[in-house]
């Protein structure tokens, strides 16, 4: 780079008066450097830099792995009411945005509904299974019953989530080509209604 050349020219002008480097590959000059009396190995910066970079990347990997660790639930035999409460709170987390979006549900394009469709559908399935009363937040999912067709945006929603393997994209009985260990949860709690959605989720979990 010429920037480097200008710097070295300025600082080592007198030394370059009789320097006659033949730069067969280079066109910038660094000036003469003496290699006498080095205490450490001459490539110590190179080695140190790469070792440091490798350590940092591995450290980052372990931190991220710890972050994505899904622990087992604390109680296996929790009270059903407690779990219902947990489910309600789960719905409530999404209930509020759903309420606000109810008005816009017709205007929101199919793709934007796709992401939370799974969450809503999943809880709805559990509703049917347990026949329990849910909060009004779930009633908004009637607006979202129409499963969106697969589209680029939908796939990107899924892909961006699937890269972290958010485990609500699950298998259906129709599509048996998904491997079991592709899924976080081996026994899927929900059934996807749209085949095109299933086909999209097929590539996500590979």
């Amino acid at each position: 780079m010429s920037a480097l050349r200008l710097i070295s020219n300025r600082t080592s002008q007198q030394a370059l008066s009789n320097s006659d480097y033949t730069w067969e590959y280079e066109y910038y000059e660094y000036g003469p450097v003496s290699f006498e009396g080095l205490k450490a190995h001459k490539y110590s910066i190179v080695i140190g830099f790469w070792v440091g970079l490798a350590v940092f990347v591995i450290f980052m990997f372990f931190v991220l792995t710890l972050l994505t660790k899904t622990g087992a639930p604390h109680q296996d035999n929790a009270e059903p009411s407690e779990k219902r409460f947990r489910m309600n709170s789960f719905v409530a987390d999404f209930g509020r945005p759903l309420e606000s979006e109810k008005v816009f549900s017709r205007q929101i394009t199919e793709e934007s509904r796709s992401l939370f469709h799974f969450c809503i559908n999943e809880v709805e399935h559990l509703d049917k299974a347990k026949q329990s009363q849910k909060g009004s937040g779930l009633e908004s999912n009637t607006h979202f019953q129409e499963v969106p067709r697969s589209s680029g945006m939908f796939e990107e929603d899924l892909s961006s989530l699937a890269k972290f393997n958010i485990p609500n994209f699950v298998n259906t009985e129709q599509n048996s080509s998904l491997g079991e260990d592709d899924l976080l949860i081996s026994e899927p709690p929900i059934i996807l209604e749209n085949k095109s959605v299933v086909q999209s989720s097929h590539w996500i979990l590979d």
């Binding site: 590959y25 910066i45 945005p97």
Partner: protein, 293 residues
């Protein structure tokens, strides 16, 4: 330090030379691959989405990086063959232009990665309002702002590169952006984890204690590749600025061409980890090649 008498010791750090064939092959592969991504996105109407526009922006900056290295190599070869003098005015201006292209490529890569991370962040945390927040027009405006800023700063940095002040913000920007991107992704991970815990606590789901490795691996690859490919060159610039005559620094700077080749490898790897993950893009490629036959 006695720098007036120089001696080429046996312990000298000679320049590590990358063969020109390797250099040009890697550069050409990078340029072709990114060009394919651009063509695929332009041709397929389904891919006219903000997400793909940001991936295109990354592809453009990768192409510029490879192009810079190719032109620099051609420049060196022409100097070697004697067609160009080393100290002419025209050559200096050409060199400055090429330097600004390189800085543009680096800044463009960083900001494109940031845009992709922010887009994914909005997709996850504001999913229902995503289409109102990230409209196509807004995405194009964001890209225009990013590239104008990158072009302006690259020209400014190239022109004022003799000032010490320009190198420092440039090298601070690099880790700062990486850290910010990492924070965005970590937040997304935390949401995924809490979501997974909620699902695991539901009665009908089987109990699993598994580490979800795929997300961690993917993100480590994203950021690791970017760091490993760009950080050596950024360190080279820092060392060339602050300690050009230190023997340790000089030994690091002797692997300059390996660092340059790494940047071009980044241009080859980036489409694989961003663009080719999308099935729509892959099917577009298949159609393009099948129709060409």
């Amino acid at each position: 330090e006695n720098i007036s008498d120089f001696s080429l010791n046996i312990t000298d750090c000679t320049q590590v030379v990358v063969p020109e064939e390797v250099f040009f092959t890697v550069a050409a592969a990078g340029i072709l691959e990114n060009l394919l991504v651009l063509i695929a996105v332009v041709r397929n109407k389904n891919l006219h989405l903000p997400m793909y526009f940001f991936i295109c922006s990354l592809a453009i900056s990768d192409m510029l990086g490879s192009l810079y290295k190719t032109l620099e190599n051609i420049f060196i070869i022409l100097c070697k063959m004697g067609y160009l003098t080393r100290r002419g005015d025209f050559e200096k201006k050409l060199d400055d232009a090429m330097d600004s292209m390189f800085i543009l490529s680096l800044l463009g890569s960083i900001f494109s990665l940031l845009a992709i991370a922010a887009d994914r962040y909005i997709t996850i945390f504001y999913a229902l309002r995503y289409h109102n927040i990230m409209t196509l027009r807004r995405a194009l405006v964001i890209l225009a702002v990013i590239w104008t800023f990158c072009a302006g700063s690259s020209i400014a940095i190239a022109l004022f590169s003799y000032e010490a002040a320009t190198v420092i913000p440039f090298t601070i920007l690099f880790p700062l952006m990486m850290f910010f991107i990492l924070c965005l992704y970590v937040h997304m991970f935390l949401l995924a984890r809490s979501h997974a815990k909620k699902i695991a606590s539901l009665p009908t789901s089987t109990v699993h204690q598994r580490t979800n490795m795929k997300g961690a691996i993917t993100l480590t690859i994203f950021l690791g590749v970017f760091l490993c490919c760009w950080a050596p060159f950024v360190l080279h610039i820092l060392l060339a600025r602050f300690c050009p005559h230190n023997p340790y620094c000089a030994c690091y700077m002797s692997i300059f061409h390996v660092n340059g080749t790494l940047i071009m490898c980044n241009a080859i790897i980036d489409p694989m980890i961003f663009a080719f993950r999308s099935p729509e893009l892959r099917s577009t490629f298949k159609k393009m090649f099948c129709c060409a036959r």
